[in-house]
């Protein structure tokens, strides 16, 4: 390739159209400001890297492997999908698909089962992004004969030698990932970008709920909105709260109750407004309020 001396940055920026992916990220993901900033930074870095390659200044292929840490339901998988889109637009992965796996997909059940299994997955992920959810399960220190170690070794080797063929994103909950990296220093050194996903605030969770409802052509009535704000506050302090995922599940149950309420009165004419709107009683019937009431008493 012949080296170029000058490149019109704006032209280059518009040519790869990263802006639209970033805008989509802004539009579809509520909150997550630090994550968005990091992704913007990574996108800029990659854009500059791409220009450097054109100018024949870049000598090596950049390391793009990442780790996403954060609590359940903070959008790690969604961001990984977007990341694949960004990498594809900038030409750092050839196809831009995401292969999402967990320990079960990589680690075998008997001797000699793990290597072919891991290699099979790696072959599938070539040209795209391999997203390993809850990566720390790969490493089980309590069992020294665990086959996870074998999968880790193959992964590390491919992450190093085939950097231009695939990008690996490890995801998991913060503290456990930390111990995972400590016991596998090879991973830490091969990962260029660590992105931490913060928990959502109450306001953001409400915005997420309204966005989810709008996507399915539902909406809160003013009363229901009030009730849902209280619901979020009550749900947050209860165990097993997983951010946006809990909100989605709550909305599914709310829709169930709304449908039940509508069907319970058969002798009437329904308008589209009736089937779209969610009333306060649909939200207030949730068990979460009962549990909260018990907790406040006791």
């Amino acid at each position: 390739m012949t080296a170029v001396d000058a490149i019109d940055l704006r032209k280059e920026f518009e040519a790869v159209d990263v802006a639209s992916v970033l805008a989509q990220l802004d539009r579809e993901l509520i909150g997550l400001t630090p994550v968005k900033t990091r992704i913007r930074e990574i996108a800029s870095l990659l854009l500059v890297e791409r220009i450097r390659q054109k100018m024949a200044l870049a000598t090596t292929f950049p390391t793009l492997h990442m780790s996403f840490t954060g609590n359940p339901g903070t959008g790690k998988t969604t961001v990984a999908l977007r990341m694949a889109g960004i990498l594809h637009r900038l030409g750092f992965v050839r196809r831009g698909h995401v292969v999402s796996v967990t320990r079960d997909d990589l680690v075998g059940q008997y001797i000699g089962h793990t290597a072919p299994k891991t290699k099979e997955i790696l072959k599938k992920a070539m040209g795209g992004v391999l997203f390993i959810d809850e990566a720390y399960y790969l490493y089980r220190p309590e069992n020294e004969r665990d086959y996870g170690q074998e999968a880790i070794e193959i992964l590390l080797q491919v992450m190093e030698s085939q950097r231009e063929d695939l990008v690996v994103i490890l995801a998991g909950y913060g503290e456990r990932m930390e111990t995972f990296f400590q016991s596998n220093p090879g991973f830490r050194s091969r990962i260029a970008h660590h992105v931490d996903f913060p928990d959502y605030s109450d306001v953001e969770l409400l915005a997420i709920a309204e966005l989810m409802l709008a996507e399915q052509n539902y909406r809160f009535s003013p009363g229901a909105r009030e009730a849902f704000i209280r619901y979020i506050a009550a749900r947050k302090v209860q165990p097993l709260f997983s951010n946006a995922r809990s909100i989605r599940n709550a909305l599914d149950r709310v829709r169930l109750r709304q449908a039940n309420r509508i069907v319970s009165d058969l002798d009437r004419i329904l308008t589209s407004d009736d089937v779209m709107s969610i009333e306060a009683e649909d939200v207030l019937a949730s068990r979460v309020f009962a549990a909260a009431a018990v907790a406040s008493k006791g």
Partner: protein
Amino acid sequence: MRITQGCFSFLPDLTDDQISAQIQYCLEKGWAVNIEFTDDPHPRNTYWEMWGLPMFDLRDAAGIMKELAECRRVYGDRYIRISGFDSSHGWESVRISFIVNRPKQEPGFRLERQEDAGRNVRYSTHAYAATRPEGERYGD
């Protein structure tokens, strides 16, 4: 004697980039890509051994190129071919097949004539390499 068969047999041997492009074409068509090898060069030998399993639902040729490199490392002294199998209804057959590796020395074939009744002559071809047992036919 340079043995040719399958697609592109009239061309010089494909480079790795060209092989990769052909594999990518197969994958985009949704064909299962197979790596096969043999050391019996007879043109009527259709039963080549498979390297691993057929590879389908891959997106990128890089994974198959890696398998090919592995196969070449083990069976670099034999013929290796890549074929693409189309499983869609009505085809259900191999759509493309081309040689991607050949031994350094290809001794070629001996033509055998058999005198038959009424001054008829029957012809058959015999690969010089096939006089040696399987696995010892090429290289030293």
